[in-house]
Symmetry: C2
């Protein structure tokens, strides 16, 4: 695993650690494209400095929240009407999806990427229908030198997994997804004992 040290000291960096123990149990790990990650039973979400103190995880994916890259002001107004609240008691299911996009994607100008992302693929317009039941948080990793460009974390209630799959099926059918060259779908549920968790991304 290539985990450059640079990700470990960024004040906003979060580490998603696959390990034998953790607050989230992994029910399935499915690699859609590109190299897979070792199968592990649990995920723990920590600040990177906490990682140095415990036993080394099987793998650790780093990312950090950043500014909006494609969203327009008009879209932001709509999105802000449905703030994405994590850690709701009923949302005991989570999904972590690390994504890498191709060099061709990153070599495109801003308006070309935006056009594919929204005017063509309707990433925001389609997704916002699901915001009332699916919470999400995006972590950026590309400029940290990580293998993945983004990590997206989703939370929802078990009865809404079908809606989540519908959203995912849609996104994976879009033109935007033709530029995804690595994607892993990691399904999780809260460990029974853990209840509502002091995860670092709830801070």
């Amino acid at each position: 695993m290539n985990t450059p040290h640079l990700s470990k000291t960024h004040p906003l960096s979060t580490a998603f650690c696959g390990a034998a123990k953790g607050n989230w149990q992994i029910s399935a790990m499915h690699t859609l494209i590109g190299p897979s990650l070792p199968q592990v039973p649990c995920l723990e979400i920590v600040k990177p400095d906490a990682l140095a103190q415990g036993p080394a995880p099987a793998w650790a994916l780093y990312g950090l929240p950043s500014h909006l890259r494609y969203t327009t002001q008009a879209e932001k107004v709509v999105l802000d009407q449905h703030p994405s609240l994590l850690n709701k008691p009923e949302n005991s299911c989570a999904v972590l999806i690390p994504i890498q996009k191709t060099a061709v994607w990153w070599q495109m100008a801003q308006d070309e990427r935006r056009h594919i992302f929204e005017e063509d693929s309707q990433h925001i317009a389609f997704s916002q229908q699901y915001l009332s039941v699916i919470s999400r948080k995006l972590y950026h990793a590309k400029d940290l030198g990580e293998d993945f460009d983004f990590l997206t974390w989703f939370e929802f209630a078990p009865e809404n997994e079908g809606l989540f799959n519908e959203l995912l099926d849609y996104l994976r059918s879009t033109r935007e997804w033709k530029y995804v060259c690595r994607e892993i779908d990691i399904r999780l549920f809260r460990s029974e004992a853990s209840g509502l968790l002091p995860e670092v991304h709830y801070e």
Copy 2:
């Protein structure tokens, strides 16, 4: 100085080091807004791992090249007609301008930032008039957790310093610059003995 370790291990990271010795001599350091940096006589541009081997510089600013953030395809076509060539023999003058933008800037949606950057401030349209005589390279630092968000490196011939100042005066008069909360203007010239340099950003 806050120089997080994360910048030191990124494979694309470049370190601009203010020190007693270096390939570039500093003729002036002028802080326009925000905290200044210690005055030093020279600048050396190295890969961060080289930094660990020599004596510690007075300060080191880190950044890395990244994808286009505001440029459209149509603008890219025009810009690509004037590729920015560094290390031309006649370009013995250089300027390093580290910039930080306000939290308000980064909280804006993409189209708001783009509108201020180009439709209002004409950052690209105005600058491109100068591309035949002023070469530049942009390094991103924000997502590395650095104090500065960008480092821009310029090179030009001594007789074109007036044109460079004209460009800079224009940019500093724009609405975009109202969101700049830290800016230092570092003027440099090649050390006589150094000739054309094996600087890391010429690789």
